[in-house]
Amino acid sequence: MDYRTVLTTCTYCGCGCNFFLEVLDGKAIGTIPCKTSPVNEGKLCIKGWNVHEFIHNEKRLKRPLLRKNGRLEEVSWDEALDYTAARLKEIKEKSGPDSIGFLTSAKVTNEENYILQKFARAGVNTNNVDHCARL
């Protein structure tokens, strides 16, 4: 038997509440708000309390999808990245860097958001960066 409580941060919003995922034999079965976290002090909102439920949801996207002949198809990461890089280059050359925009997410870490804006500004040369919390 394998029972673990795994400390992690809520993915739902930017507050950064801490909780333990209750994991029994590899399956997340519960969410336990962390009492010693200075952010949420053992409390959570209704989304946080149910965060373990989406982990094993069948509808969750686990692989990149690419639209081919009008249909979304699962492809490898290599193919998805090659395609995206080629198209970004093409669009930038044809219509200029400001024809491209980047939407980041509250569900990822600060560091990941930092990387994306860096890529937008230094890689693509645009300041078109926005965030789902402002939409």
Binding site: M1, T5, E22, I32, T36, I46, W49
Partner: protein, 268 residues
Amino acid sequence: MIDSIKDKVKELLDTGEIKGFLGLVRKNGHIGPHLFQKGDELVDLSLGDNKIAGDSRYPLNKYLMNIAKAYPEETFGVLIRGCDDRGLQALYTWNQLNPKKVVAVGITCPQELADACECLKPFPEDITAGECAKAGEQKSVAAVDALVLSERFSYWMDEFVKCIKCYGCSNVCPMCFCNECSLKCDDLVKSGELPPEIPVFHHTRAMHMVGRCVDCGLCEEACPSGIPLRTLYKKVGSIMEDKFDFKTGMIRGQRSPLNKIDSAEGKK
């Protein structure tokens, strides 16, 4: 105190009497629940006291139910305080845990915690370590009861209106184990409606805690809105004591009046 607990748990694990010990661990700078399966993990055992006594308690019996359901043949140890002991006793009578498969390792609570909790019995029946504190003075219910009816009503309505319907109070509660939760029954509490209808939401839960609440206070600690839930359930508990002479989990084997409708005693 912690060393005698470690020794006791180590012995239980080494002799194979228990498959694992559900306790608390200090890890990554935090205190959280942990299933100890090897003696050498016990260096990081915690009793749930971070800044002040008992401020990092978790509903361990609740997690024990999850584990026991998946491994009904195995025996597990669990760290308990007085309230957890009352919880275990009540859970046994509701057939949610098998007493033959649980080895409780009990600690007492210091006087400051007993006073803060207004606890009637701040120690478990069988104590592995610690000195017994005196019962805490009962003040919070009396303070609300002292208000005239209209003021008492507005006091509670002003508290309930703060509810964000996070369901934390029931999610954290070691005595909430129903397969179908009345707080999720559309006829009582409309799904998708925020804030929840008051006082129906809170009364529905209070009604369901009759004969179940062991006054651990974890619901109030989990409430993001600071609603004095413990006072509410203490009041519910005091009515059970007055009318039925029943205090949840205090007497071993005693079933709640609501848990014996099928028995001759219940029919009486």
